[in-house]
């Protein structure tokens, strides 16, 4: 019996190692005093200092954040409108085509999306002079384009599940359609909007391929900086940067987990309360 437990724990450790050993290594080496990534030269926070002093990385991080927040917000706005259109407006003309086009970026290879966007931007600049050059604007436009598909899918499924009689009841009680949407529909599908926004944010902030196509000299996002730095050999500074990102993500997940836990407890309390009344 004891052997069996040992084997099981061994397998578990192997599984975790497979998933997390690379990250553990990365975090460990970010505290390496040596410049050589593969040689341990003692503990140091030197690379974090250099990271903070590296204006180029900081600028890129700030740009990435701006791009991600803007495109996630815009994609959520447009994606929600598209979802409402698809779920609530019945079979309008061209609905099938619209559904296809909206979901196409989900399956389209990123290289193609990026290339197509680049060609479009160049052609537009030549014919109407806008957008002038490749910049943060073109990155945002490209990110909104592919993120909005993801948001649409997420919001669409939530809307389809929503009890239609809630909207009818609100209208029956005297609320006009726009008000019904704002006061009833939106709050009820809000979790899906939040999920869609977070998904879009994540997709945007770590996108390399599409950004690489549509970026210009003045606008370098964080993933592009990391990518180009790694090509010249992995520097411990990048390890430090990656560790910071891992830390931020872990904290985010912990907070989300706690919120979900609390929500679940509240739901159980409600059910108990309801059951007690009989």
């Amino acid at each position: 019996m004891k052997n069996r437990a040992l084997i099981l724990y061994g397998l578990l450790a192997l599984g975790y190692a497979f998933l997390y050993l690379p990250i553990v290594l990365l975090v460990t080496y970010s505290f390496n005093a040596s410049r050589l990534v593969t040689v341990w030269g003692g503990f140091s926070t030197r690379w974090y200092g250099e990271l903070v002093a590296d204006q180029k990385v900081l600028d890129a991080a700030w740009l990435s954040l701006k791009v991600a927040v803007t495109s996630a917000t815009a994609a959520t706005l447009l994606g929600t409108l598209a979802a409402v259109m698809l779920v609530r407006f019945g079979r309008f003309r061209g609905r099938t085509l619209f559904t296809g086009l909206i979901t196409a970026p989900l399956v389209m290879p990123e290289v193609i999306t990026g290339l197509a966007m680049l060609l479009l931007f160049v052609a537009m600049e030549q014919s109407i002079g806008w957008p002038a050059g490749r910049s943060m604007l073109t990155i945002i436009l490209a990110h909104v384009t592919f993120c909005l598909s993801f948001v649409t899918v997420v919001v669409q499924s939530r809307l389809a599940q929503m009890d239609l009689s809630l909207e009818e009841a609100a209208m029956d009680l005297g609320a006009r359609p726009l008000k019904v949407f704002l006061v009833i529909t939106l709050p009820i599908i809000a979790p899906a909007l939040a999920a869609g926004w977070l998904l879009a944010f994540t997709l945007s902030i770590d996108d390399v391929v599409i950004s690489a196509f549509v970026t210009g000299p003045g606008a370098t996002t964080l993933p592009i900086v990391v990518f180009s730095k790694v090509r010249l050999g992995v520097s411990p500074e990048i390890n430090a940067l990656a560790t910071v990102v891992v830390a931020v993500v872990s904290i985010g997940i912990a907070v989300a987990g706690r919120l979900a836990h609390r929500r679940e407890r509240e739901r159980q309390d409600s059910q108990r309360l309801a059951a007690e009344q009989g």
């Binding site: 009890d163 009689s165 029956d172 009680l173 005297g174 609320a175 009833i184 009820i188 309801a274």
Partner: protein, 380 residues
């Protein structure tokens, strides 16, 4: 039907030619593609009435209700509420409110906020809203739960809140879509009477959709029995049960023994019908004039028959058979009597005395008889 009951009623505006209906439905049809859900329905509903639309699922009753609320537009015909044509009036401007089968309580609002929602849309001042919300919740005895969320309520409580939310708006008409379907039997029966009492107190016209005939009979002033988009009969519970207009209504409401046959004689006080399924002729009192040879259906309710071991003296209106099944329900017993022709007849007998349920048993040869006044001739 030719025969109309002569009854004194305190509330019967439908018999008063002067009375003005609150809801007038004129030749209303609704089709979805090739499917006709509601087929040229004409119906008047009067102020203060508790009206039920009764029918099996898919008969068009809910579609009719949704057209009153404004969620569906009639394909043809007109709907007037309080004399106003509703054709171009959207749901949010109609003087009606609907209580949904799912109750449709807004999950992100408290009970009080749910009830206040409709009042806020009317732009009433805050103190007025507060008073009306409190009054509406008091009416359904949900005052102590004002700050709860819908998820924290039981099914019965949600149903009350949904009712309060509609009543707070003081609509001219309250539409109820299967309001009690989600409750268990005991609670449903209790709520039926409560709902009638509340309707009595607030004086609002109720139009209810239900598939439960007992519910419709218990609660309504009048019932409209629907089938396949058509209204088969409109009448008080007594009328639709005792004097069904068609064999469908006779069969749908309660249990009916129905015998097909032809008219063989038509006297002043009764008609005689010969049925190939029965050995004896059928004699039915007060049935107006019917041509001899006309095909008709004769209906006799199970409780209108008496069961005995002795052969009746009369020449008509009885059958002989053997008891094939007995359903003992406590207050009554239902006997299934198999006739020589293979036909089965249902007879229900009240168990008046202790032990009376033991008097008749399986395979007993019995006679089921009924009075000519207790049978009805149906021509449709």
């Amino acid at each position: 039907m030719v025969h109309q009951p002569v009854r004194q009623q305190s509330f019967a505006p439908w018999n008063d030619p002067e009375a003005r209906p609150l809801i007038r439905i004129e030749g209303v049809s609704k089709s979805f593609g090739t499917f006709v859900a509601v087929d040229k329905v004409d119906l008047d509903i009067y102020p203060g009435e508790f009206f039920s639309l009764l029918g099996a699922s898919g008969c068009g009753k809910t579609t009719l209700l949704r057209m009153l609320a404004g969620f569906e537009t009639p394909s043809a015909g007109k709907i007037f509420i309080d004399g106003v044509d509703m054709a171009r009036i959207p749901p949010y401007e109609r003087p009606v409110n609907m209580m949904f089968q799912s109750y449709a309580l807004f999950p992100h609002m408290t009970v009080a906020e749910n009830v206040a929602f409709g009042l806020k849309q009317d732009g009433l001042p805050k103190p007025v809203i507060r008073d009306k919300v409190r009054a509406a919740l008091e009416l359904v005895q949900m005052g102590p739960f004002a700050q709860r969320k819908p998820a924290q309520l039981s099914g019965g409580q949600r149903q009350r809140v949904a009712l309060a939310r509609c009543l707070a708006k003081e609509p001219k008409v309250l539409l109820l879509d299967e309001p009690l379907a989600a409750l268990d039997k005991k609670l449903r029966e209790q709520t039926q009477l409560e709902l009638v009492n509340i309707q009595d107190r607030v004086g609002i016209t109720f139009v209810m959709v239900t598939h439960d005939q007992e519910e419709a009979m218990t609660m309504s002033a009048r019932i409209g029995v629907m089938r396949a988009g058509l209204i088969e009969q409109v009448g008080t519970p007594v009328e639709v049960y005792e004097y069904p207009a068609t064999s469908f209504v006779a069969d749908f409401i309660g249990t009916a023994n129905m015998f097909g046959g032809v008219v063989t004689a038509d006297a002043a006080s009764h008609v005689v019908v010969r049925s190939p399924e029965l050995e004896r002729d059928l004699s039915i009192a007060h049935s107006g004039t019917l041509p001899v040879g006309a095909p008709v259906t004769v209906m006799v309710r199970p409780e209108k028959m008496t069961l005995s071991r002795d052969e009746p003296a009369a020449d008509w209106n009885w059958v002989q058979g053997t008891v094939s099944d007995i359903a003992y329900l406590g207050d009554i017993s239902i006997y299934h009597v198999a006739l020589a022709s293979g036909r089965r007849v249902q007879v229900s007998q009240t168990n008046l005395r202790h032990g009376s349920e033991q008097r008749l048993t399986w395979d007993d040869v019995v006679y089921a008889a009924w009075h000519p006044a207790n049978a009805l001739v149906l021509t449709q």
